[in-house]
């Protein structure tokens, strides 16, 4: 199967957008070759700004460009873009509701060998807690391209979470991405599985395995984490009566939290969150880390069976 990293798709989408729209400007912080903004930089050098190793300045400058009528994309690794520059994002972008697109790459534990300092597991939590912020976590290259285009059509701050590793392609070009709408990848009656990003392709595999055992899973790709599509979730959960979430993020504050908030208030059912368990990551090959931290197909299958059991009690 063809595999493409979401950051790769982001780099290509930026070039496409740059051709169409003169207002698109791109900023980076000495990671252009890794975030793939380099492609835009080569094509449109006058609209590309490398700020050096200075993420706070990166986001602050992006705010100013937005206030000046431009549509800035600001990129760095997720840990530095949202961590180092959190207050700039909060007070200079989200609060004044400026039209800045923060596209952060190398999110999550699939960063691999660089280790915990570079493995951002709290960015969804940080960005989701901000009023006015839209949070997108695309699952493959096709969805990334569409999400990036939608972010431009939408006026306001957007956080787009991208990854380092090549991922399987889930969608074809006919896929209609709608900002704020969940994407149902498989209908099912027994258990709802909600995931985002890297975990979506695993979830589809897990659903196949469950099917073989006679369990029918309803699979939702929640690629817009905020605004949260509560109605798609509730509709599914009313039918299935059990839910599992899966994300390459801390179980505190991310997709699992967003789902729990809605479920506990509106239709309490057995629920299990798969994510990194309030821990920092570590160095290692991405696949080994995913297995060690329980972010894999087997764990989703297990969790689905567990919530099913609870439902029948």
């Amino acid at each position: 199967m063809e595999k493409i990293a979401t950051r790769q798709a982001y780099g290509k989408a930026l070039v496409e957008l740059g051709q169409k729209n003169e207002d698109i400007v791109v900023l980076d912080a000495d990671l252009a070759k890794s975030t793939m903004t380099i492609e835009f930089g080569k094509r449109f050098p006058q609209r590309f700004f490398d700020m050096g190793v200075a993420e706070q300045n990166l986001l602050g400058t992006a705010a100013g460009l937005a206030a000046g009528g431009k549509i800035p994309f600001a990129s760095s690794f997720a840990v530095f873009a949202t961590g180092r520059a959190y207050d700039q994002i909060r007070n200079s972008i989200a609060y004044p509701r400026l039209n800045v697109k923060i596209a952060a790459t190398h999110a999550g534990i699939t960063v691999g060998e660089d280790g915990a300092s570079h493995q951002m597991l709290e960015d969804i939590a940080l960005m989701r807690a901000l009023p006015n912020m839209t949070v997108l976590v695309p699952a493959d290259a096709v969805e990334t391209r569409k999400a990036v285009f939608s972010a431009v059509e939408y006026e306001g701050p957007v956080y787009i979470r991208l990854g380092r590793p090549a991922l399987p392609i889930i969608y074809d070009d006919s896929y209609c991405f709608r900002l704020g709408k969940a994407s149902v990848l498989k209908e099912g009656d027994d258990v709802t599985i909600v995931s985002c990003g890297v975990m979506v392709s695993y979830t589809l595999e897990a659903a196949k395995k469950l099917q073989e055992e006679g369990i029918s899973a309803h699979v939702i790709n929640m690629s817009t984490i905020k605004p949260f599509d509560a109605s798609s979730l509730i509709e599914s959960v009313r039918k299935t009566g059990a839910v599992v979430t899966a994300e390459e993020h801390s179980i505190i504050g991310g997709l699992g939290s967003a789902v729990s908030e809605v479920i506990s208030e509106q239709c309490p059912v057995p629920l299990f969150r798969i994510g990194v368990n309030d821990q920092f990551g570590e160095s290692g090959p991405p696949q080994q880390l995913m297995d060690k931290y329980g972010l894999n197909i087997e764990r989703i299958v297990e969790a689905a069976k567990m919530v099913l059991k609870k439902k029948h009690k």
């Binding site: 980076d28 000495d30 990671l31 252009a32 070759k33 890794s34 380099i38 490398d50 700020m51 050096g52 190793v53 200075a54 993420e55 706070q56 300045n57 840990v79 530095f80 961590g83 180092r84 691999g112 060998e113 660089d114 280790g115 915990a116 300092s117 570079h118 570590e282 160095s283 290692g284 090959p285 080994q288 880390l289 060690k292």
Partner: protein
């Protein structure tokens, strides 16, 4: 004047560290050779001459502290610590592997002798200030040393800390700036010029020395002057070559964060053999 014996010993240590860096990163399949190689003489001078340390007791209370603020040069720090006896040399071949005590970027909890978890650039100087102030408060005469990159100083936080070091007259603090002229996206002066570096640090109240960062006599001299300077911190701006010692890596930003192939490791080791 330093004895030929001392200088030769440091030079051979430097060669050993370079070999270890290359072999280690080659085996790991990822890592940062360029900025590890440019700082070899600085770190060798510190660990094999300057620092007051006890490898059998990494937590010795009054030890000198070294903080690798440019944390991506971890392979260099690990090579120095291993060869100084902080942990068995075999450990360095586990670099970046699952379960290794040697994380991709330095981690204080994982590795004996590592004073601070770094890797997020720009944070080391503030931490060094804290350690220097703690030393003064406890009337312990330990010294604090920190190594920064020339791309790293683009972080605003470095200058917040620089102001504080001189404000609090931290003469027990010595910083090195590895002035190799390159960062990831290219030459620092093209990406986001930090020049003029010496004037900036002087304006921030530091005693500033500019030296050849690959020459041991200059490094040892500068360290001596730093120790003698009272009432202000010292910044040693060390002019270096990124990738120093390996012909195909020298002055090439592409080797910032890329592992050499097995063939390239062989070639690099052969070159180092000839020095």
């Amino acid at each position: 004047m330093y004895s030929e014996e001392l200088l030769n010993d440091l030079r051979s240590k430097a060669r050993l560290l370079r070999k270890d860096i290359i072999t280690m990163i080659g085996k790991a399949g990822s890592g940062h050779p360029g900025g590890s190689l440019s700082s070899v003489e600085i770190v060798t001078a510190l660990y094999f001459h300057e620092l007051k340390l006890d490898p059998t007791d990494p937590a010795w209370e009054v030890r000198d502290r070294f903080i690798l603020s440019k944390g991506h040069a971890a392979p260099l720090l690990y090579a120095a610590l291993a060869n100084r006896g902080f942990f068995p040399r075999e450990e360095i071949w586990g670099l970046r592997k699952l379960g290794s005590i040697l994380q991709g970027h330095p981690d204080r909890k994982s590795t004996p002798g590592v004073e601070m978890s770094t890797g997020s650039l720009g944070q080391g100087l503030a931490v060094s200030n804290g350690m220097a102030i703690a030393g003064k408060l406890s009337a312990a005469n330990w010294r604090v040393y920190v190594l920064l990159g020339d791309g790293e100083v683009q972080e605003g936080m470095v200058w917040e800390a620089a102001m504080a070091s001189s404000h609090y007259k931290l003469d027990n603090l010595t910083a090195f700036l590895d002035y190799n002229g390159l960062q990831i996206d290219g030459p620092v002066d093209e990406v986001m010029s930090p020049s003029p570096l010496a004037d900036k640090w002087k304006a921030f109240g530091w005693n500033v020395l500019t030296i050849d960062g690959h020459d041991f006599e200059s490094i040892l001299d500068a360290l001596q002057k730093a120790r003698e300077t009272k009432g202000k911190p010292t910044m040693i701006i060390a002019k270096t070559v990124k990738g120093k010692g390996i012909s195909f890596m020298e002055n090439n930003a592409d080797w910032h964060g890329r592992a050499p192939s097995a063939e390239q490791v062989k070639q690099a080791l052969a070159e180092l053999e000839q020095v």
